[in-house]
């Protein structure tokens, strides 16, 4: 067996062993999980408005997001969220649950490095850029509206 043949066979073997990311099923999963999370949010929002009919729309949405954030943090703590996220991909990242998970997950992980520089600092590894970009963008939008 020449070296070239051996390399070829080895490459084929590696190719067969590597876990493939199946593009189409992952798109389908992202669609379904993302859709379901949004429907859960809508159901909670409708339930809230039917219990408290006088509630302002904005307050109801904020409470809905807080509910989803609570559930996502709790599931992250239990370790269930990561298992779902393996299947759902962006389906759990893009909804507000991903933002919540991105805070709770490093908080748990870096706890053993200390409370201040471990947990509290590392909490914002992913959420930090989101907050910074969001704040800066809102300042820019506000500035533009003041000037225009």
């Amino acid at each position: 067996m020449t070296e070239l043949e051996r390399n070829e066979r080895y490459n084929k073997y590696v190719e067969a062993k590597i876990a493939k990311t199946h593009a189409w099923p992952s798109l389908f999963n992202a669609f379904c999980f993302g859709g379901i999370i949004c429907v859960i949010g809508q159901l909670f929002n409708d339930m809230l408005l039917s219990i408290f009919p006088t509630m302002a729309t904005q307050s109801a949405w904020t409470l809905t997001l807080i509910f989803l954030i609570f559930v996502a943090s709790f599931l992250t703590g239990l370790g269930v969220f990561d298992k779902i996220a393996v299947y759902a991909g962006a389906g759990t990242i893009i909804p507000i649950t991903g933002f919540s998970n991105s805070i709770a997950s490093p908080a748990m992980e870096f706890k053993n490095e200390g409370i201040v520089f471990g947990m509290c600092a590392k909490m914002f590894v992913i959420a930090g850029p989101v907050i910074v970009f969001g704040t800066v963008a809102s300042i820019i939008v506000g500035l533009i509206y003041l000037l225009v």
Binding site: S50, A90, I94
Partner: protein, 123 residues
């Protein structure tokens, strides 16, 4: 309660936004932080040019629950605060409008982060 087809619209729009995210993940290997920032800024932009409201009226939770809604909320807050308070609104409006979600994410993150131990991840 809304009629059933409204939930179908919510499911479809929410799913579509997540699917676009998944396409980006597959094709560009984009990281979680970048994808969240990107969709947040899209939301900010949509709200800034005043086309978020009609989309939101149609899609409801389908666009409010994704991080796009978080970004839009920041921009809307800034716009409304500037209209009401002038120059101060530039700085107070954005954060004030997402204060609930932000405080909840940090608070629950801290709470469950202290309560639970990280498990070894298996992929």
């Amino acid at each position: 309660m809304l009629p059933w087809y409204e939930y179908l619209i919510v499911f479809g729009t929410g799913g579509l936004i997540c699917m676009i995210g998944q396409i980006l993940v597959i094709t560009t290997k984009i990281t979680t932080a970048r994808i969240l920032v990107l969709f947040e800024l899209i939301g900010c932009f949509l709200a800034a040019i005043n086309i978020y409201e009609p989309i939101s009226a149609f899609a409801k939770a389908g666009i409010n629950v994704p991080i796009v809604g978080f970004g839009a909320s920041l921009a809307k807050g800034a716009i409304n605060a500037v209209k009401a308070q002038g120059i101060l609104g530039i700085f107070t409006g954005g954060i004030a409008s997402v204060a609930g979600g932000l405080a909840a994410a940090i608070g629950f993150g801290f709470l469950f982060g202290s309560l639970f131990k990280a498990k070894t991840k298996k992929f």
